[in-house]
């Protein structure tokens, strides 16, 4: 029996006269890799922003594990188990790779101002644990040897992987990846599908993935939602979506 972990119902977001996301409804099941595709400007990133509370819907609702989180603030939603990466990478540029990943463990730690400053045994233990955890995550994305390098000095592909490590530090239930392959070299791209699968298994995640590389999405995702001009035009498994006339129309129209 599949369990719905994330659901949007009739969600709409207007920017002035533009309807970036238009009455979209779908449900993501626990454990699946859910693809989100569509031409440029279709509203994919806006949908991620809605799900993470970074923008608020003009109408519609957002549910996480059955709970209405429509009006929650981003840090509350993050604490409930949704982590993301950004299409235009948003690392803490002046912080080291290690610090980036340490910061993201905030909600799972509890040291207050004074215990942190005085360095109580509990705070010191927590600090050590946070550091080990961060190193472990960096190791997973092959950046452990550069843990002390400042984030903005990493090449593009490494920044993408560092951002994934930072998102994982949040110990999320749902991981939202916004074009993780963008800016990666062909080598890194080829390994990306395997990497996402590996991470998903290891952390028992549900993954929602925005990606322009259609063959990759078809090969990786269990189900795919297709957006066009803010509207959901198709939803189903890769074979269904690929055969959908509306999808073909949207993509051919986009290219022609």
């Amino acid at each position: 029996m599949p369990e719905t972990i994330l659901e949007v119902t009739g969600i709409t977001r207007r920017f002035g006269g533009l309807i970036a996301v238009n009455d979209v409804s779908f449900a993501v099941q626990r454990d699946e890799i859910f693809g989100l595709i569509g031409p440029n400007g279709a509203g994919k990133t806006t949908l991620f922003n809605l799900i993470t509370g970074l923008t608020h819907p003009s109408s519609g609702k957002l549910f996480l594990m059955g709970q209405d989180v429509t009006h929650q603030r981003p840090h509350q939603i993050a604490a409930k188990g949704i982590a993301r990466t950004f299409q235009n990478i948003r690392l803490f540029g002046n912080l080291t790779a290690l610090e980036n990943v340490m910061v993201a463990q905030h909600v799972h730690t509890s040291s207050g101002v004074f215990s942190g400053i005085i360095g109580t045994p509990k705070a010191r233990r927590e600090e050590r644990h946070v550091r080990e955890q961060a190193l472990h995550l960096l190791d997973m994305v092959n950046l452990a040897d550069r843990a002390e390098t400042v984030a903005r000095n990493f090449p593009y592909g490494d920044q993408r992987r560092l951002e994934i490590a930072r998102a994982l530090a949040l110990q999320p239930q749902v991981l939202l990846l916004d074009e993780p392959g963008a800016g990666m070299n062909p080598n890194e791209k080829a390994g990306l599908s395997g990497f996402i699968r590996e991470v998903k298994e290891k952390f028992a995640l549900t993954v929602v993935l925005i990606e322009h590389n259609v063959p990759m999405v078809m090969g990786l995702c269990d189900r795919i939602a297709v957006l066009n001009f803010g509207q959901l035009i198709a939803l189903g498994n890769p074979a269904q979506v690929q055969a959908d006339p509306a999808v073909i129309e949207a993509y051919l129209g986009d290219e022609g």
Partner: protein, 344 residues
Amino acid sequence: MDQFITTYGFLIIMMMLQAVLALSLYLPLMAGQLSLATPGFFAIGGYVAAVLSTQKFLPAPGTTFPEPLQSFVTWLATVFPLTPTGQGFPIGLVLVEMVIGGLLCGLVAILIGLPALRLRGIYLALATIAFVEVLRVVSLNLPITGGAIGIFGIPQPFPTDATKFSYIVIALPFLLLCMAYVYRLERSRVGRAFIALREDELAATAMGINPTYHKVLAFAMGAVMAGMAGAMTAHVLNTWNARQGTFDASILILAYVIIGGSRTFLGPVVGALLLTALPEVLRQVAGIDGLPDFLAAFLRDGRLVIYGFLIAFGVLSFPQGLLTPELLKRKKKASAPLPPTGGG
């Protein structure tokens, strides 16, 4: 040495207090908030000390404090043996005033920070300047703050020390404590949350960091430090009025942080020490024998011009400030693996 202290004792105390004020501005900046409210809290702290010490804590000559204050003072005197009870105002009570002034400022900061910290960047800076101005006007018009005249005759813990250098027993530990506080904070969970907000607020919130809570917290921490510094300064200056803690001070304190460096706690401290000492250094240089008269005169009288020029030069040539975390790290690395070299 005596000569040195007579000449520079007061300056050294002022340098330390200014360094604390620089840290007070640095704290909200750590969380990405450009607040210029520090002089306002400094003023509040000063008034707290002035009012308490002249009206509440001071017994009539030849009498003792009313109980339970007297027992408390006696106890303080045993904890701080330096307290020259009898001849001077108890140091312990100065510390008590600092704590009360600091806490009051922290409280005010939470009250004004909750609405004000919704503003961003330059708008927050403007709002905090407005706060400083409002406080100044209010203090000019309240009876308890002594109106335009202010409060005179703030009792002295070191009545016989005209140089005020004796305050070092409070000022130095105070500065060191504030520095240690911020140093440790930068390496703790809460401090990292501040820095994440400064680096990218949106990404930080998406990583579960509550922006409002941490901004207000950083703002309040800065306010506490400024309030404590104000309380101590009131004793050092012996008088307190509405000219303490004005808009000029906001800009000066901002200059400490910009020149010193705004991404490590050492930056503001070094910036404050240097800029506070600078006018005195210039005056000394002007006094060197054999200097052409026009140059000496310029160094003496054109101090503000030189000051402004150095600030502009500093900002242009060190846009990150004199000290950056990268520089400090490189220093550490460079000095660590050096093997001891033989000979000399």
